[in-house]
Symmetry: C2
Subunit: 358 residues, 2 copies
DNA sequence: GCGTCAGAGAAAAACGTTTTATCGTCGTGA
DNA sequence: TCACGACGATAAAACGTTTTTCTCTGACGC
């Protein structure tokens, strides 16, 4: 009802679902869009707009439910934002976020160090989340209108095959995933083998693994290495205990059921610290001792391992190096569009603690 | 060297630090910007651009180090992106991110439910991180060119006082902070009092708290309530053990030193589960038993409490409700610009476990 | 009566893209 | 010779802002 065409450039009636713009406010308040803009930015005092006009504009803006278009605003805004490059970190809602801030920090560091070379460029970084397995629905991924470069983490196999078929029009670095044609950072394989060796040194003969579902790509590699090493050393593969997801509770339930059904093992490799926390409880409840009855190795996802009772031996990724490498690689690709895809292997870290040492 | 003015609209020489645009590529490759644009979007086949031109454009783009301007691209892009509202979640680098995905998910839910009312609007959500205490340096916070609305979490007192003086030009909801003039969601006070009551019921006489540094606003409120309750019941306040930060290690060290110096307490309130993990180890190492020698209550930040040994009693925030309320409140403000600031108190959850029950 | 100045606002130029409409040119069949 | 389609590319409009420049009043001092 407040709307009324006035400016000749907007004679055409707007569609019903079209968003309110400064032009609409200007028409309704019978001023020009420049005036509306200054008022909405609270610069009316320096521009000497009388209070009456200010309140009129403010009221019509509120009445019309005006929401500024962020992209238009940024496009036109300060000089400092002019040379702005958007770096994104894409991860799934379901994955734990505790690592992503480290990745983001390293990415920023890498970007800013390179700034000195390509001076004048500023960086802004965002995290965007997608539902696991539905990376394909992420807006801007294929059109390239969300970021100039991205680190993608915590994808599912479904997401990976989507990426294999559809390449975003900007540099991408994957974390712990191997997809043809993409750069990625990846933990050195061999953690699985080392896990078995550690258990063997703790005099285990019947190894088992506890894993979540679905199996992440890196877990799968570790498991395969573990299995191969087991076959080599003992002549048989390990038992496999499958938890329904990656929570403590799932680990607890899976391990409890295994032990209840008279499952026997004297060495356990758990592919996530969170699962392991649940497994510890199940083992305690069954009256078994760590490491005397069952030695346990996990991966060191978190920094908790020292505080388990008994403290937990871990062989796993060095997230700090992964993050650093990922940041460097992405920035490298950002400024060297012709560079070949590159897979960086990052060494693992091994900390022997009480859970494998009698 | 490749650059050469051709189009009449860009006769003026560019400054040295000016970013490469499609115009520059067009000039260098001697084609029009429209052609460059179609090639860069890989639509050359449908537009029948010959391969030779395509490669020439691609090569000059790469040689010039072209990076598209994301904002310009989004501004001009698809209809679906036209009615796009940007919702942001601002948190500090230092704070654990494990909660933010829950907040983001709830925010999205709230936004999408409201979409049916305000139909035609799509939402995009981003997380942006700032160094704790330096929220003020976050670009776009005061100019409003980064988002249409934001949830701000994990601020320091310094950030709060900055916010108190400078109001961003978009709706804001704070989490667990009380700042004049802002809407916020906040855990019901009283968790601290309940913690003391639980300890008292476990026959404690000498309560202590273990806290991190700096003290977050919500921790401070809890501590004050705890102290008041202690004074009321016992006639004296609790002892205060201060850890240097919020890590497991800090908790361990602080608690170990306290016990080493003959500190005595029979009930411990720990304001973070992470700290508590360290405290558990220190208590074990000192040969003390939980809860017989020391009963322990913490806050339930994570979902670990069941898996502590012994399992950990918690009284703390219901993050699910906090997140839900925050999302709803922000969306409400987004579509009702005139609405008053509102503080939503969210009840706490109390789970009694073995660490307080002999 | 005339220059000057301040107030209030309009008009227009940018920002860097994408998209649409248009324009030559070249062969080719009638 | 003419109409015509295919080809290759260009010019120009749009996107929604912000910012700069300009215009039009009156009022005021001289």
């Amino acid at each position: 009802m407040l709307k009324k065409a006035k400016s000749p450039s907007s004679e055409t009636l707007k569609g019903p679902h079209s968003r309110i713009t400064v032009q609409d406010i200007a028409n309704a308040a019978k001023v020009s869009i420049g005036t509306v803009s200054t008022v909405l930015q609270n610069r009316h005092v320096e521009r000497r707009i009388p209070l009456q006009t200010v309140t009129r504009i403010r009221e019509t803006a509120a009445a019309l439910g005006y929401l500024p278009n962020i992209n238009a605003r940024r496009l036109r805004s300060l000089k400092s934002e002019k040379n702005n490059v958007v770096l994104a970190l894409l991860t799934s809602f379901e994955a734990p976020l505790n690592l992503v801030s480290q990745f983001l920090a390293e990415l920023r560091k890498a970007a800013e160090q390179s700034t000195q070379a390509k001076n004048g460029i500023s960086f802004s970084m965002v995290i965007e989340l997608f539902p696991a397995g539905r990376l394909s629905e992420m807006p801007g991924l294929l059109t390239g209108d969300h970021c100039n470069a991205a680190i993608i983490m915590n994808t599912t196999p479904q997401d990976d095959s989507f990426l294999a078929c559809n390449r975003p029009p900007f540099p991408v670095v994957l974390v712990n995933r191997l997809v043809q044609g993409y750069s990625s950072v990846i933990s050195q394989p061999g953690a699985g083998k080392r896990a078995l060796e550690i258990l063997a040194k703790a005099h285990c003969k019947k190894p088992a693994v506890l894993r979540g579902n679905p199996l992440t790509q890196s877990s799968q590699r570790r498991l395969e290495a573990f299995s191969r090493a087991s076959t080599e050393l003992f002549g048989y593969s390990m038992q496999e205990i499958v938890a329904s997801n990656l929570s403590e509770e799932a680990g607890y339930l899976a391990m409890r059921d295994f032990l209840k059904n008279n499952g026997k093992c004297d060495g356990l490799y758990v592919v996530s610290d969170t699962l392991c926390m649940g497994a510890y409880l199940a083992i305690r409840e069954a009256g078994l001792r760590i490491p005397k009855d069952i030695a346990v190795v996990s991966v060191g996802d978190y920094e908790h391992a020292d505080y388990f009772e008994p403290s937990l031996t871990t062989v796993g990724a060095r997230h700090d190096l992964l993050a650093q490498k990922a940041g460097e690689l992405l920035v490298h690709h950002l400024f060297n569009p012709a560079a070949e895809a590159e897979v960086a292997h990052v060494p693992t870290r091994e900390v022997l603690r009480a859970s494998t040492q009698g």
